[in-house]
Amino acid sequence: MTDLTDLTVADIRDGFRAGDFSAREVAEAFNANVAAAKALNAFIVETPEKALDAADAADKAKAAGETLGQLAGVPIGMKDLFCTQGVQTTAASHMLEGFVPTYESTVSGKLWAAGAGMLGKLNLDQFAMGSSNETSYYGNVISPWRRGGGDNAALAPGGSSGGSSSAIAARLCPAATGTDTGGSIRQPAAFTGISGIKPTYGRCSRWGIVAFASSLDQAGPMARTVRDNAILLEVMSGFDPKDSTSLDLPVPQWEANLSSDLKGKKVGIPKEYRPEGLDPEISALWDRGIEWLRDAGAEVVDVSLPHTQYALPTYYIIAPAEASSNLARYDGVRYGQRDLPDGAGLQDMYAATRAAGFGPEVKRRIMIGTYVLSAGFYDAYYTQAQKVRALIARDFELAFEKCDLLLTPTAPSASFALGEKQADPLAMYLNDVFTVPASLAGLPAMAVPGGLDSAGLPIGLQIIGKALDEQTVLNASLALEERAGFTARPDKWW
């Protein structure tokens, strides 16, 4: 019998319905993998009983002949940025250690309502700030992948959704939630040989997700196949009156409309994404991707996104500015960490609490954000960044007059060793260079694995689509997936 943990979400959903196995068998299999993978440090909290409860409910519903939810029988991992009722939610920070929400985020609530079960809360970069998972207070997640040739260096699973990517690649869960502010779904997906989609800004409610940068944060699914992403995204999306930026639009039937036939579609290749000195292996994969899409029937055109080089600095002004304000609520007054030295006044309590509760990267971004919003600097930084952001969005609009989607690399390199870039924040920030522009423009973008590099590590491709056109993004990703035939998986060492 096949190992249940090798199945995709679609396989599990359909096999459970067909009676090939029970939901409980699936949950037990994944619970066992989770329990045996402590070395990856992918989970902050494991909730095997939640997975079993949902599985039992699914089995019971099936036995009773009741209508089954879209994800009945499917256990998933939940990034620990989503508030989960009755289950500790930390955003991988010391600040929120022990915080147990009395409420459920809209997106996680939709997943549970569809019958999914929770395997646990997945580790991440602290407050979703990071590209390697090294900023987590609970220790870095380790990628299940290793370089070939006996190199046993622990590698980064990407970030911030590194717990999600690592767990999926290691078959600890068939799918997981992620959030993406500047690439936090796509870059870890690329690092671990899985796929993940950041939908159009506003598709998924942000209500109940610990905020990093409100104008950029978007939830999305991560899984091993494009189809699985479509299945999850359909459940996670939808208008939420509790989020003023939520899109009041019906959710399309993405899975039912999946098609890798790209006849009549034009694929734009933005020349600015091939800078001087781009890793030749990434460059070569990109060229293969172009051929794959052409093979799927698409016409390939060259396009220009002239403001691309300003995207990263723009992002690193806007995101920290919003974060500095969003994280002001962690003050030790009402919940979470409180440090109250003897004889301390209110200001002392703030200082002590925030000094102890936030990690260095979070502090760095709060300070950057505070600085760029300060009187005298606001116009030079924040106002200017907003203007550039509008230009970047306009670049995409103009490009989409000539094409229907864009193909780019996801990240400028394959995974790197933990510790390798920690000392240089700027080198770390460069990981997001290809993912940040679509975030600034609020566009749907997906990462799909394209192959392995010469060191045996996954490298990926990115599809960027027009606003609200997740279908084309998914379809083009499916075309890549079919042609890349990516079946590699990490050898189990954990």
């Binding site: 610990v210 609520r329 919003l373």
Partner: protein, 501 residues
Amino acid sequence: MTESTYRIQGATGEWEVVIGLEVHAQVTSNAKLFSGAATAFGAEPNTQVSLVDAAMPGMLPVPNRECIRQAVRTGMAIDAQINKWSRFDRKNYFYADLPQGYQISQLYHPIVGEGAIDIVLDEKNPETSTKRIGVERIHVEQDAGKLMHDQHPTSSYVDLNRSGVALMEIVSKPDMRSPAEAGAYLSKLRTILRYVGSCDGNMDQGSMRADVNVSVRRPGEPFGTRTETKNVNSVRFVMAVVEHEASRQVDVLEAGGKVVQETRLYDPDRNETRSMRSKEDAHDYRYFPDPDLLPLELDEAFLKECRQSLPELPDAKRARYVNDLGLSAYNATTLTADADTARWFEALLAEGARIQKKSEGEVAKASANWLLSELYGALNRLGKSLEESPVGPEEGAELLALVADGTISGTIAKQVFEIMLETGARAPAIVEEKGLKQTSDTGAIEAAVAKVLADNADKVAQYKGGKEALFGFFVGQTMKAMQGKANPQVVNEMVKKGLAG
């Protein structure tokens, strides 16, 4: 329009005071500005708090349509520019009563732009004493919670009931020049808010409070440096702050010092203001557009509904009372100064016109006089407000109708009103039961007059000798003999006739 002549006489000459007010008015709404939590005053601490108000992780603000509507209606009531496109900004600072670490406000793009309020400085002569005070803007923002320092020996407690409550900040131009003008502006603003129904105006409950900006200058010179006295919560205190702060500044300047731009606090017990923080310690609020909220766009249908739902406003009402109802300027001003009074008066008027089958104009004067003297006098005595009046507009109209149709005299009406106040009985029943109907029975009156004249033959002689002032004496004696129930006009005629005989 009028110019103020208010001056402070300093040792070195005259000073003019310049005043601007920033009024925070709590929007009347069942729910907070960005959450569904209730807003009841005086509730147990932390019982009116939603997850959003407590700034729990992942919580998001959603604008409350009713709060926006009330701000727009208020703007329309002061003839202000309504900005169809406005935006919310975050004002960032740390304090224990501010759970989010920022207040959602509107700095760059307020919902209401420039408008104006006309104040009247002499209610008896409104035409010659009206002054227009400019309003710079109205924006909506969240209120903060409250710290309680008296609950624990070493800690402060936080009550978040007010956290997130919707406020309108109504910012005047520096157009006021005396304590009286500041007081009149605040009173008039409160009147307008109450008419519109956008704020209950209860200053003692904190629904309305003012930041008072004061500076002084030599008449005609540029503005001086101002101070801002925060959270002043009555009209009287605002006037006291202006007076105190202006003379303090004059003292400073005349002693060769400089006025420091600073925030001050008013201590009503000592009637003085104290420095709270200077410009140097001023926060850098790091305002920026709230990324959790989209810009606010108002469509025509919404604006139309706001406009159509506005009641007749105090200035229009006062003009109508004078021009259409024939009331004196003073009475019209007094009756329209408060929305509840005007509502009461109009109910009295409508009922009076209905019972007496007359126009409202025909019953207006008697109604106004009775309300402002008899009813207000009685309520003052009883220590009750108009809403608590034991006699309602319908009952009042019945009483006035009995006077108007000659059933009872004005004197008897006063007695009947007293009985109404005491027993709650209605005027017609009291008149019937106590037999207070006035008589026009000429025979009975004639007999009474004859008796009075006979009993006072000496005074009759004096009258005939030229002491005509005694006429009133005979009328009074006759009325007394008739127990006040005689029709005064008939009595007059009969006395005249008797004396002529």
